[in-house]
């Protein structure tokens, strides 16, 4: 394929990925990584390296508004990064070592399985605006893991406090490792941990996850970039397209029914997951 056509196609795929990723909450990587590997013939580590680029672009493109509106809890996010960043460093290193061992087929299959695993995760979100308050644990009290934001829909200031930090740290380490290995999945598992364990309001959980995925992806992307697995000719058009698509998605989101969006796109992602697994197993 001609270079100019290749770059234009990548921008278009990335715009779609940014849109789908932000509307479903799954992130742009779930579209970009399988399409690069299946249709463009990219090697799996290059596809994963590009997946980090979609996360970085999405997090920075949509994160500014969350921070400005104080929905991203910097304190809670930073505290949990102490678990996600080591996870991501281990995960990205594992991916590089697996590639060196010529086990790309195993990565194909594992990626397909992770794609499947995060689909129920994205449907299982609680959809309760404000959870009933739970007591802070000792660590949460010591670090002052409390916050307040103004809820525009409820027209009131909402206070919250973080509970159960120990299991949350465990889940965050796992989320970091998965996203470090595969360039996907970090956001879904992070939102689940923030909602289910820390008991944060949905909006704060979503915005804090958005802050966190950028930092976690920087850890994974740092390793992959320094190891030579981010190709700028692929990454540049994908970064531009994803940032545009994610920005567009964040504008459309308030006007769309979340469930409808998910029902439309999740079968597409499931189909890509099946194709990844079949490729990895060497089946047509």
């Amino acid at each position: 394929m001609d270079l100019a056509l290749f770059v234009v196609l990548l921008v278009l795929v990335a715009i779609a990925a940014g849109l789908v990723g932000s509307l479903t909450g799954l992130g742009g990587g779930v579209v970009v990584i399988p399409i690069l590997a299946i249709f463009f013939g990219a090697s799996i580590p290059i596809a994963i390296g590009t997946g980090f680029v979609t996360i970085l672009a999405t997090s920075s493109a949509t994160g500014a508004a969350y921070v400005r509106d104080r929905l991203s809890d910097i304190r809670i996010g930073m505290f949990l990064e102490i678990a996600t960043v080591p996870g991501a460093l281990i995960g990205a290193t594992a991916t590089v070592l697996i590639t060196h061992a010529n086990l790309d087929a195993a990565l194909f299959v594992a990626l397909g399985i992770v794609l499947f695993a995060i689909i129920p995760g994205s449907l299982a979100r609680r959809h309760i605006e404000l959870p009933p308050p739970m007591p802070q644990d000792a660590r949460s009290q010591y670090l002052g893991l409390t916050g307040e934001y103004h809820d525009n829909a409820l027209s009131t200031a909402v206070r919250y406090q973080a509970a159960r930090t120990s299991p949350a740290l465990g889940v965050m380490f796992g989320a970091g490792m998965v996203s470090g290995m595969f360039g996907i999945g970090g956001g879904v598992f992070k939102v689940l941990a923030l909602e289910r364990f820390l008991n944060l309001p949905m909006k704060v959980a979503t915005a804090t996850s958005n802050f966190m995925i950028g930092v976690t992806a920087a850890a994974g992307a740092g390793v992959m970039l320094a190891a030579g697995y981010v190709n700028p000719i692929v990454a540049a058009p994908v970064a531009i397209g994803t940032a545009f698509g994610a920005f567009l998605g964040s504008r459309l989101l308030p006007n769309l029914r979340n469930r409808t969006v998910r029902l439309v796109f999740l079968p597409v992602i499931a189909a890509l997951a099946i194709e990844m697994i079949l490729r990895g197993l060497g089946l047509p």
Binding site: L3, P133, P232
Partner: protein, 140 residues
């Protein structure tokens, strides 16, 4: 009177960062992303113009940034006006943007005298730099 859950009033006081911390972090994200996209956008157009006959398969099998993944290599590449070096710089800015946000968090936690959060943020920063400067090059 049933507008808010009763126990919300019992929650402890919120110790928020100063307002300028949020403004600064918003600015970091906006400027970082805009800068990265401008460099990557300019770089990719220049690359296409410079390599008109190249095919996508040759792009995918030859990663042009491998020569620019050290500080001296990147410096000399940029000095020589290499498009691939410029693209590498764009990727570095993209990766660095969330890291600068961590640095900015470190600054404000230290400024308000929160020792535990300062320590945690510093540890996150050290780990991030460890990945880029040591782990990545080591497993290349």
């Amino acid at each position: 009177m049933s507008a808010s859950p009763p126990s919300v009033t019992e929650l402890p006081e919120v110790n928020a960062l100063p307002p300028e911390a949020y403004a600064r972090m918003t600015l970091v994200l906006r400027v970082g992303l805009a800068l990265a996209l401008a460099i990557l956008g300019g770089g990719i157009v220049a690359y296409i113009l410079e390599n008109p006959g190249q095919s996508s398969s040759s792009v995918l099998s030859n990663n042009p940034i491998l020569n620019y993944l050290s500080f001296p290599g990147l410096g000399s590449g940029l000095g020589a006006g290499s498009v691939s070096a410029v693209l590498t710089l764009g990727l570095i800015v993209l990766v660095a943007t969330p890291i600068v946000r961590v640095v900015s968090g470190l600054y404000y936690f230290r400024k308000v005298g929160e020792r535990a959060m300062t320590g945690i943020t510093l540890a996150v920063l050290v780990l991030l730099l460890l990945g880029i400067l040591f782990i990545g090059p080591h497993v290349r």
